[in-house]
Amino acid sequence: MSASLRGSAAIAGVATFGCGEMPGFTDIELLARAARAAVADAGLTLRDIDGLCTASASATMWPMPVAEYLGLRPSFIEGTMLGGSSFIAHLMPAMLALQAGQCNAVLVCYGSAQRSATFGRRELVASRRFLDPQPYEMPYEPLLPASAYALAASRHMHEFGTTRRQLAAVAVAARAWAQLNPEAFMREPLTMDDVLGSRMVSDPLSVRDCCLVTDGAGAFVLVRGDRARDCPKPPVHVLGSATAVWNRQVSSMPDLTVTAARETGQRAFAMAGFEPKDVDVVQLYDAFTINTLLFLEDLGFCAKGESGAFVESGAISPGGSLPVNTNGGGLSCVHPGMYGIFAVIEAVRQLRGEAGERQVPGARTALAHGNGGTLSSQATAVLGTQDTL
């Protein structure tokens, strides 16, 4: 499938800005700082950008204010909003537009001041009840999104004997990676007992099984592969890309232990011509500890039901056999509402060899996986250095 599309586009620039706490900034101010830095990283200026992909958790017409703010007049505009997976889902349409000659340099960007904003999560959740109702779930007062992931965790524990300790091992591994990343928001030591003893939010998930709430922005620039070779940084080619939605509400999921990542993993790997064993470094959207387990299985890194033991053995921690969420992930690095773009950025930094203390030596291939809603949307990207083409 799409042999000519494999590797046809490459990420030439990446940047983050304001990860953690940035009181006094708005969403778009954070976004603009990251966008400008990513464009500069690609050796370009904002004048060179003629494609725009962006999404917001609150503004439904978000590409318009972003184009206006940055002074862009893009000939390719992509605003598909699938929650946190959006910026990984934007890769395929951007690649198609680049290949078709509709544009030459696509800026994918996101920013959120959700931690510091005066209009915070509470108001956002309240307004969503009116703007985007879920009349068959909300009357039962689930704490969404956490309760949806908790339900999935309960089922995984029931079917496969997965334990709270194994879930906690995901959070402990993420923190160990975060301690190697100066950009990570939470870097103090975190033990198994800390996680198991922390406040329960929605059983079996405790507060340390849940992602952070931070500010932050991320951006990357996608160009045609041949052009990327002329950019200052080593290009990171998009070898495979796939997005899937099977449901929105967790109550409509056919099997709570199998996500649409099973489909996106198969499609993205098929396009890349790779298998899971070919991947050097893995970035998974860990909104909750159960996510990492589900995606390790659904993407083919573990057999179904075996991820708990895999993680508990230390396999995804620094020094383990499979480096996962090397920036500290949404659990310990950054989580400004939607995390997907940060998974891509960390993958690129690893493939460029820019990851400092947390660098996975010799990493040539990476997988970045995004999740959106309540295990609702899934998007997978397989990335590789120039010599993997």
Partner: protein, 128 residues
Amino acid sequence: MPGAEESTMTGVQARHQVALDEGRFLIQRCEACTCHVYFPREVCPHCGSDRLAWVQPQGLGTVYAVTTVRRKADAGGDVNVSLIDLDEGVRLMSRVEGIAPSDVRIGQRVRARVADGLVVFDLEGASA
């Protein structure tokens, strides 16, 4: 006088709720592919047919997944949220009442009851 679910003047969400407000829990069954459907749709998600008829489920189901939403006492206290698989083959979010949230277990057999326009469940055999 036909029940509210016979009316074609409103969408299925409103008709489902009117029935609940009258104390009746209805799901749909597709006359084309015979699958049961829940939540209510205008079009069958299995085959695309618009021939969806209202039917009353047996009311028996099994707890498929479970969580306790932790809340402070002044916010209503802890509450169970479960996914229930009805014997008809459809799943819904609801809660199991009459026992402590921490005692709700996957696999428990439960029976539907309509309370204040909402479908909730009790352990099968429990006196309502």
